[in-house]
């Protein structure tokens, strides 16, 4: 049976006017349209472009959710094996449309999808982590070389072949760190790299360091006596049965646990599942990491307004920065809803 492919293009490549028609809503057409006419023969007999979806770039930019919902609904009906978007070359809004669509197709439908753009298309940086984006020229004049590249990549995906690195396949590096065995050991490579640096050269680093997010400390709380405070920890303190199965390292989740009516953290009710520190003292006294005892005193003394009747916990060791960011973005809503004005973060 032939593999089914759905192709996405913008109004310009569908032959529906230029900028003047960029407002058109999504359309679905049977078979190939525009670049698909060249792509179909390059794909050969084993795959068929069953339909082509078209949308104006402005429409996509302005009513992204509506457009994507409609396109996703059509794609779902077609039950394709692969979705190809573009090539978008250096067209920024088209790149954004292609990137948004292939991302959503993969996330919502679990169907493989890729697109193709020029190096400087802003869509590359926006979506490179989310999908394969093949490297193509900056304008439609590069269509002739783009088609075989896209067809070859499509066939690999359709045949379930291993997708190799960005240089071998011609896609923009997605920033995913993948292991391999180098012919030389690390220390030998390091010595060679240092010799080059000392010789005034600039050898390629094996890990290009991204710009690390830094969070500026917020100004001090003005009126602690009327502020509700919550305790949040990366120290892995959880109820003894670890109800959320938080991992001892590389956590993928966090938990919210009640301390209502408690004067201190009892070792019978709480434990540490953290794999990154010597837990001996904390197992005896969980207040060392979640200082409920001290907070209750401050509450009684009127130093703080009140203590939230829960604390939030995860494991910090080995936990990826993306996960940590996601946890924070997620639980901050609860803290805000509960009128928490200050948080004490305890680490280990």
């Amino acid at each position: 049976m032939k593999k089914r492919v759905v192709h996405y293009i913008n109004n310009f490549f569908a032959g529906v006017g230029g900028e003047d028609m960029a407002h058109i809503p999504p359309e679905k057409r049977e078979g190939v349209v525009g670049p698909g006419m060249a792509l179909q023969p390059a794909l050969g007999d084993e795959a068929e472009i069953v339909s082509t979806l078209v949308c104006g770039d402005n429409y996509m930019g302005e009513k992204t959710d509506e457009a994507l919902d409609q396109l996703i609904a059509w794609i779902k009906e077609e039950k394709p094996d692969l979705v190809i978007a573009g090539p978008a070359f250096n067209a920024g809004r088209y790149g954004y449309a292609c990137g948004s669509l292939v991302k959503k197709v993969q996330e919502e439908l679990g169907i493989p999808a890729f697109t193709a753009m020029y190096d400087e298309n802003p869509g590359v940086d926006t979506f490179r982590k989310d999908a394969y984006i093949l490297k193509v020229a900056d304008s439609a004049a590069g269509m002739r070389s783009a088609i075989p590249l896209m067809a070859k990549f499509a066939k690999k995906i359709l045949n379930g072949e291993e997708i190799l690195g960005p240089d071998e396949e011609g896609y923009f590096e997605r920033g995913i760190r993948v292991n391999y065995f180098h012919e030389k050991r690390g220390s030998e490579r390091a010595v060679e790299m240092l010799l080059q640096v000392m010789a005034g050269k600039d050898p390629v680093t094996e890990y290009p360091l991204p710009k690390i997010d830094r969070v500026d400390p917020v100004p001090p709380v003005k009126d602690m006596a009327h502020t509700k405070v919550a305790l949040v920890t990366s120290g892995g303190i959880v109820p003894t049965d670890n109800p959320d199965h938080i991992e001892s390292s590389s956590a993928s989740k966090y938990g919210v646990y009640s301390i209502e009516g408690m004067e201190q953290m009892s070792k019978d009710l709480f434990t540490s599942i953290h794999g990154g520190y010597d837990r001996q003292y904390v197992l005896e006294n969980p207040n060392l990491v979640v200082p409920l005892d001290a907070m209750r005193e401050l509450e009684k003394e009127g130093v703080i307004g009140e203590l939230a009747d829960y604390y939030i916990a995860t494991t910090g060791t080995g936990t990826s920065t993306d996960n940590a960011k996601r946890f924070g973005e997620d639980f901050v809503n609860k803290l805000k809803e509960d009128s928490v004005g200050a948080v004490i973060l305890t680490s280990t």
Partner: protein, 427 residues
């Protein structure tokens, strides 16, 4: 200092009436070694078990790995710990290369690792290729954690030194000489070659994350300058339970790959001046002080370039970056060696900290990758703690004894001193 390292190549290990080497086979006296371990009354059970490359054997939880060696002249083995305090790094040392003492037992701090002697994950640890003498210890009931760690650490070192003793009179299969001269003479010897140093960061976060330099806890060190041969000769031993993947075992201190590879180019492409030893303490003031001292020593010795390696990940990344930045600011060129922890999808930051000066980094692999460990016929130690060990998680251990866990559960799999060939690249 001039060190003559005589290597006796060991290709097999067997039990014997006495501990000795015969035609490349190391025979170990089981009961004698067990008795030695039991001299410490904190340990109530000791079993010596053997594991050889290619066998269907899983060893866990692994605490330390140590190559059996003997100081023939010029000091004692593991000074300040097993031997009496004395300088090492010169004279003659005999090593049973290819043999390894592996300490195993109930978890101390649940950061102890795993070794498979065969199967798809054996390639990630160098200890699947050594003839292993496993010392399985059982701590006394209720033994305090830090006492247990120390007892386990000493047991391994004592057994390694005891076995090493049999190499004292042996004729080595290979003799390698390493030499670094006193500073001024060393500079004069190769005046036209760039002066290179190695900044060796020791794990010293404390609370079961400790390393010992001539018996001194590395937390208490101020950065110091040393001859490279001291490290190769037992001056530093591991006493820590960092994540297994980047634990620098005592074996790895003896076989420090940065030192070995700098010596290979010594006198040819570079002038290897020495090692700056520093630590990775948890207090910010300590980090600032130690990195200031490191940069000061780099400047004092006029080094043209340095390699920096770290032990552990997360918190020590801050030390790594402070060292990188401050040393770069003295005008000295820097290359960093590290491993990566970008999360399950490989998309997060690989390091917890970064500075613009960290432009040249060598990767020792991504420790977050999940790998499958098929069941093995024999387990040395126990699987009871797999799901709590770093890299394990709820559901890691399957009923048939197979395991799914992050690569970081394997001992020294992504060790951040470049010992292995494993690396990561962007996809």
């Amino acid at each position: 200092m001039r060190l003559e390292l005589g290597k006796i190549f060991i290709k097999d290990v067997q039990f014997g009436q006495s501990t000795h080497v015969e035609k490349g086979t190391l025979y170990v006296a089981k009961e004698e070694l067990e008795k030695l371990v039991l001299e410490d009354d904190r340990i109530i059970g000791a079993q010596i078990e053997l594991a050889r490359p290619g066998e269907s054997v899983r060893i866990t939880p692994v605490k330390d790995c140590i190559e059996p060696r003997v100081k023939v002249s010029g000091g004692e083995m593991f000074p300040g710990v097993v031997g009496k305090i004395d300088k090492v790094g010169s004279g003659r040392t005999h090593a049973l290369e290819g043999a390894c003492v592996v300490t195993v037992g109930k978890i101390v701090g649940f950061q102890e690792g795993l070794i498979d002697m065969s199967g798809p994950t054996a390639c990630y640890t160098p200890f699947s290729e050594t003839q292993n003498i496993c010392v399985v210890i059982q701590p006394a009931e209720g033994l305090e954690t830090h006492e247990y760690e120390e007892a386990g650490r000493l047991a391994g070192l004592k057994v390694a030194a005891k076995i090493g003793e049999c190499a004292r009179e042996l004729e080595p299969d290979e003799l390698v000489v390493y030499e670094t001269l006193p500073f001024a003479k060393q500079v004069e010897t190769y005046p036209n070659l760039p002066k290179v140093g190695y900044i060796h960061m020791l794990q010293s976060q404390g609370l079961l994350h400790d390393t010992f330099y001539y018996g001194t806890d590395a937390k208490q060190l101020l950065p110091t300058f040393m001859y490279p041969t001291e490290i190769m000769d037992g001056a530093i031993i591991s006493g820590n339970c960092v994540a297994p993947c980047d634990k620098v075992t005592t074996y790895h201190h003896l076989h420090n790959p940065v030192i070995e590879d700098l010596y290979k180019r010594h006198g040819k492409d570079l002038n290897f001046i020495g090692v700056i030893l520093t630590n990775e303490n948890v207090y910010l003031a300590d980090k600032v002080r130690s990195s200031d001292m490191v940069a000061k020593l780099v400047e004092l010795f006029g080094l043209d370039g340095v390699l920096i390696s770290e032990e552990g990940y997360g918190n020590p990344d801050a030390d790594l970056m402070m060292n990188c930045q401050k040393v770069s600011q003295t005008g000295t060129k820097v290359v960093l060696i590290t491993d990566e922890f970008p999360g399950a999808d490989g998309k997060s930051y690989s390091l917890a900290d970064g500075v613009p000066e960290a432009k040249h980094i060598v990767s020792c692999g991504n420790g977050n990758v999940i790998v499958h460990f098929p069941p093995m016929e024999k387990v040395i130690g126990m699987l009871d703690y797999v799901e709590m060990q770093i890299g394990g998680y709820d559901g890691s251990l399957k009923p048939d004894g197979s395991i799914d866990a992050e690569l970081q559960i394997i001992i020294a799999s992504t060790i951040a001193n470049g010992f292995n060939h494993l690396a990561a690249r962007g996809y």
